[in-house]
């Protein structure tokens, strides 16, 4: 279990760093998919199989493809590759390192260090569905409404403005 965690953590962090640091956008998207797959592996390791599959379906399957489509529509793939070596870039990295330092110090000082996992609970899709249909039915409906509104809004935003003769 320990080795699996460290291998998956290395894959996830390497994928995330590459997704944020590589100069070409297509490579960034591929590395982002690798990081998402690594996170899905972590969810499997933690015993949340359904979330893991949802992660693969939604992030690797939908969000990464959506990013590729946006790249295609904005002709970003043949944009000149850009490294981040500018001064504001270094400032941003410094801020991120500071944030990581604060978070790591908080985690180290929180007394959670020796926490061991309780015995693994039984997570069946049936139990999840029963929860979603009973206690969490209102949030479920709200998320459904939000997704519908967001997708209609996305279509309207990306729709070509034909009234002005199309720009």
């Amino acid at each position: 279990m320990e080795t699996a965690f460290y291998v998956l953590a290395a894959v996830t962090v390497a994928g995330a760093v590459a997704a944020m640091a590589l100069p070409r956008l297509v490579h960034c998207t591929l590395c982002l998919a690798v990081a998402f797959v690594g996170l899905a592996g972590h969810f499997l390791l933690l015993g949340a199989e359904f979330v893991s599959f949802a992660q693969v379906l939604v992030y690797v399957g939908a969000v990464a493809i959506l990013v590729v489509f946006a790249m295609l529509l904005t002709r970003s793939a043949d944009a000149p590759p850009a490294w981040v070596v500018s001064r504001p870039g270094l400032l941003g990295v410094g801020v991120a390192v500071l944030v990581f330092g604060c978070l790591a110090a908080t985690v180290a000082g929180s007394g959670l260090a020796g926490r061991e996992a309780p015995p693994a609970p039984e997570v069946t899709v049936k139990a999840l569905g029963e929860r979603l249909m009973a206690e969490y039915v209102v949030p479920l409906e709200v998320v459904g409404l939000l997704l519908t509104a967001a997708l209609i809004g996305a279509v309207i935003l990306a729709l070509e403005d034909r009234a002005k003769g199309g720009t």
């Binding site: 956008l25 996170l39 979330v51 970003s76 850009a82 991120a96 978070l103 979603l132 809004g153």
Partner: protein, 103 residues
């Protein structure tokens, strides 16, 4: 099982990487990718706290992570549609060049 703080540190690292990317990259799509990474770090925290928490059979962390994934999907769709709309208007996706309020 690895200890809980290993997951928390991994999640903090992912959040910091996403933040660095969102702050430094000039391309609008990559800014959005950085935000997605930060959201994923939060999801990892939900699941880790659920697994190591007091009552994992209540499934609260799993359900919270699923709602969070749904909201992140909506956010990605709207964000990319905005980027396409901005590209159509300004003919660029570099965030530094989009600096006019009246196009």
């Amino acid at each position: 099982m690895p200890p809980l703080h290993a997951y928390l540190l991994l999640s903090a690292a992912l959040f910091a990487i996403g933040l660095a990317g969102a702050l430094t990259r000039r391309h609008a799509i990559l800014v959005l990718v950085g935000i997605e990474l930060m959201l994923n770090a939060a999801n990892l925290n939900f699941i880790a706290f659920w697994r190591y928490g007091a009552r994992p059979e209540a499934l609260t962390g799993v359900l919270f992570a699923m709602f969070s994934i749904g909201i992140a999907a909506a956010e990605a769709a709207v964000g990319l549609a905005l980027i396409i709309a901005v590209y159509r208007h300004f003919r660029t996706t570099t965030v530094n060049d989009v600096n006019e309020l009246r196009g």
